[in-house]
């Protein structure tokens, strides 16, 4: 690890350990705690989404034809564009972590900005999709008013309930990610990070990859089953 090597070589510009909280014995211990804490948080996130995945599985097993027909109503092209956008943002986020480890200040700022831009673009595309669905009446169960209304009213509705619940919750996580990365950007402009201390960039990066990963599952499950 670059950071550890630097640390043991003595004071880099920021290695005066002003960032170390009093109750940790070493900076490494603090880093390990933050990392473990973030992984545990990610576990709770996975379980949080798992409820929706289970509901998806139950409804799909009960009414496979509804899922096939309703998924066809989603815009696969926009979904695919969003997948590419998020994959790109994962790349820039990973790059941001690397920049912070290497002390590349400008690269860090650039990568964080690109990640935020990608996240905003993702939400933009999502917004277009939502507006479209709204227009067509492809809404969740109680509001469903699409073309199938009349015969299989509630059934197509349950697909869109799952669709809105899953993508909506995911979008909330994207928004939280934008806030977190924005905070990183602010701190990196202030020059808070260095090879001796980049923990926040690292753990927010972990979070961001999870948010992307959830989408990697959502895209085929929702868009490609049709």
């Amino acid at each position: 690890m670059i950071a550890e090597a630097q640390l043991s070589q003595g004071p880099a510009p920021h290695a005066d350990e002003t960032f170390r909280a009093h109750h940790f014995e070493t900076a490494e211990q603090q880093f390990a705690a933050a990392k473990l804490g973030m992984w545990l948080f990610l576990v709770t996130e996975v379980l949080f989404f798992s409820g929706l995945f289970v509901a998806y599985a139950v409804f799909r097993v009960l009414h496979p034809e509804v899922f096939v027909n309703s998924a066809a109503l989603l815009d696969t092209k926009l979904g695919a564009i969003n997948t590419v956008i998020l994959l790109f943002s994962s790349l820039t986020m990973a790059w941001a972590v690397r920049c912070s480890q290497l002390g590349q200040q400008r690269g860090l700022v650039l990568c964080l900005s690109l990640t935020i831009a990608a996240a905003v673009a993702f939400l933009g595309v999502k917004g277009i999709e939502y507006a479209h669905k709204w227009h067509e009446g492809h809404l969740w169960a109680s509001q469903y008013g699409g073309p199938q209304a009349g015969e299989t009213f509630d059934r197509a509705g349950s697909f869109f309930s799952v669709y809105f619940a899953m993508t909506g919750l995911h979008a909330v996580h994207i928004i939280a990610g934008i806030a977190a990365i924005g905070w990183l950007l602010k701190r990196s402009l202030r020059g808070d990070f260095s090879p001796a201390y980049y923990t926040p960039v690292d753990v927010v990066g972990l979070y961001w990859h999870l948010v992307d990963l959830v989408w990697i599952f959502l895209f085929p499950l929702l868009y490609l089953v049709g």
Binding site: A33, L40, S158
Partner: protein, 570 residues
């Protein structure tokens, strides 16, 4: 802070003497309300939690007394059917979500865990404070439901009733959702603290069992609570938007709700009991003055309970799931009794030939063993399919879970309070009145809840405000027991309050226990230890000698023959 010796090094003899420490204790090192509002000290946060949960316990307790009073006679006694529904719902919701779940981990655990580990604080002090504020927010939302339209769904919020009733389900479930995050934060903090902050020399198998129990509890908190979170979020979306996951009118499935809910709430009963088991292990060992019997089995069984607890949720739906599923869940339910049984046998084996002193905490610990055993064994009647069809949704279930939750968790909580009280506030309490309160609580508890087993087996359904006249005799017995129990709890509170005003100053180690929290002053200084504590076997009490003049137990000078303590089995 001061010493540079590695923590396992033995300090010179005079360092053991608990001389009055020059550093001010955590209660006095800063003053003023703001020093509490912004505190990051795990001890102060623990104390704030303690005040919060005890307030919740008082509210829930008053409601319990009202519920029991209503049941003195069939049909209306003091309230109508609707008021009754609101009353038992809020009683259950407050007791579960505001009191029992945070009681031992967030209040006692917060205070004790870092000190037992020899650490200065938990890994994430800010998150710790956030978890307390989330608790307050959650409590406000939950209790606001009472002021709005009340809450009459039962603490389980079963659909479809919870999506159609006009009581304040959204406010209450939002409250519980927030409380869930509070619980998750505590869990993440404890796992990270135990993993990262253990001092040199404290290997996993030299950790006190209370830490093992908090650790396994934290795992459940982290893994189960998010599922409750998403469930309640969907329930809110169901009520507010009609999203149709659980509403059969919209193609949803109410039994899916029950699965989601119990996937959290069965593990949650182990969130309630595992920390209690940890407390009991400390108390039984300390007051038998002998190492806990079968230490490793105690560790493994805590983890086993945490794990198996995830596999049995279906036993709450024996009447609404398929026969096949019911058989499987029944079999899995029985498997939980194996690690639970191991614990009970090991406590008993520790008592055997121990030199038992019947202090107040020990009285509560012994009550725990008896009451928990009754609660666990009656769980087997409920886990067996043929008997559960008869007993499901009757007072038998009510008696079962009160034996485990009140007879188990609450008794352990009070026992733990008496045990650590000197450490928390630096004051001793009256042993005489403490024991009397335990006796009254023990008698009152059985007087209240034992008749409910009989009521239930004779068919008295739970959650009804009216009943057939033939049940009245047992209901009257149960209600009078509840009043007696109430007196015991009030006496117990009085003993604590009296000790705060009038109690004798507590020495550092009044019980002669070997875990680290007794190696620092009572109450501890801001950073817990002035000198790094020495890690030894947590149950090796033979080294400690009572000093008659101070009432303090002090470690004898080091003798090399001592075992290294990695193996504590007797």
């Amino acid at each position: 802070m001061s010493t540079t010796l590695p923590p396992t090094t033995r300090l010179p003899e005079q360092a053991w003497k608990s001389e009055p420490i020059s550093e001010p204790d955590y209660l006095r090192n800063k003053r003023g309300i703001m020093s509490w509002v912004y505190t990051l000290d795990h001890k102060r946060i623990g104390v704030m939690y303690l005040i919060g949960i005890l307030t919740a316990f008082l509210m829930g307790g008053v409601m319990a007394i009202l519920v029991r009073t209503e049941l003195l006679s069939p049909s209306r006694t003091i309230m109508g059917p609707d008021a009754y529904n609101h009353m038992f719902t809020l009683h259950g919701a407050i007791m579960t979500f505001l009191f029992i779940i945070p009681s031992i981990p967030a209040a006692l655990g917060n205070f004790i865990l870092p000190i037992m580990l020899g650490a200065k604080d938990v890994a994430f002090p800010r998150m710790n404070l956030a978890s307390w504020y989330l608790w307050v927010f959650g409590a406000v939302f939950l209790i606001a439901a009472m002021a709005l339209n009340g809450l009459d769904t039962g603490w389980t919020f079963y659909t479809p009733y919870s999506t159609t009733t006009n009581s304040s389900v959204i406010s209450a479930t939002l409250g519980v959702f927030i409380l869930g995050f509070s619980s998750i934060f505590t869990g993440i903090n404890f796992i990270a603290t135990v993993h990262i902050m253990r001092p040199k020399g404290m290997t996993w198998f030299r950790m006190p069992l209370f830490l093992w129990s908090l650790y396994s509890t934290a795992i459940i908190q982290v893994l189960a609570t998010p599922v409750l979170g998403i469930t309640l979020l969907l329930l809110i979306a169901e009520r507010a938007l009609g999203i149709g996951f659980f509403d059969p009118k919209l193609g949803g499935d109410p039994v899916l709700y029950q699965h989601f809910f119990w996937f959290y709430s069965h593990p949650a009963v182990y969130i309630m009991i595992l920390p209690a088991m940890g407390v009991i292990s400390e108390l039984i060992s300390t007051f038998s003055r002998t190492p806990i019997f079968g230490y490793r089995f105690m560790c493994y069984s805590a983890i086993a309970i945490a794990f198996l607890g995830f596999l049995v949720w279906g036993h709450h739906m024996f009447t609404s799931e398929s026969a096949m599923a019911a058989v499987i869940f029944s079999a899995l339910t029985f498997s939980v009794s194996i690690p639970s049984g191991i614990k009970v046998f090991n406590w008993l084996a520790t008592l055997y030939k121990g030199s038992i002193s019947l202090t107040t905490p020990m009285c509560f610990a012994l009550s725990f063993i008896l009451l928990f055993t009754i609660g666990g064994l009656t769980g087997l009647f409920l886990g067996a399919l043929a008997t559960d069809i008869h007993l499901h949704d009757t007072y038998f279930v009510v008696a079962h879970f009160h034996y485990v939750m009140m007879g188990g968790s609450l008794m352990a909580f009070i026992g733990g309070m008496f045990y650590w009280w000197p450490k928390l506030f630096g004051k001793m309490y009256s042993e005489f009145w403490g024991r009397i309160s335990c006796l009254i609580i023990f008698i009152g508890f059985n007087w209240t809840f034992f008749p409910q087993f009989i009521l239930g087996s004779r068919g008295m359904p739970r959650r009804f405000y009216d009943y057939k006249p033939e049940y009245q005799g047992l209901h009257v017995i149960s209600t009078s027991g509840a009043f007696f129990l109430g007196i015991g709890l009030i006496l117990c509170a009085a003993v604590f309050l009296h000790s705060l005003w009038r109690g004798r100053r507590a020495p550092a180690n009044p019980w002669g226990a070997a875990t680290l929290e007794w190696q620092t002053a009572s109450p501890p200084p801001l950073h817990n230890f002035v000198d790094d504590p020495v890690v030894t076997d947590p149950y090796d009490m033979a080294d400690f000698e009572l000093q008659r003049d101070t009432g303090d137990y002090v470690r004898r000078p080091y003798t090399p023959s001592q075992s290294d303590g990695t193996e504590t089995q007797s």
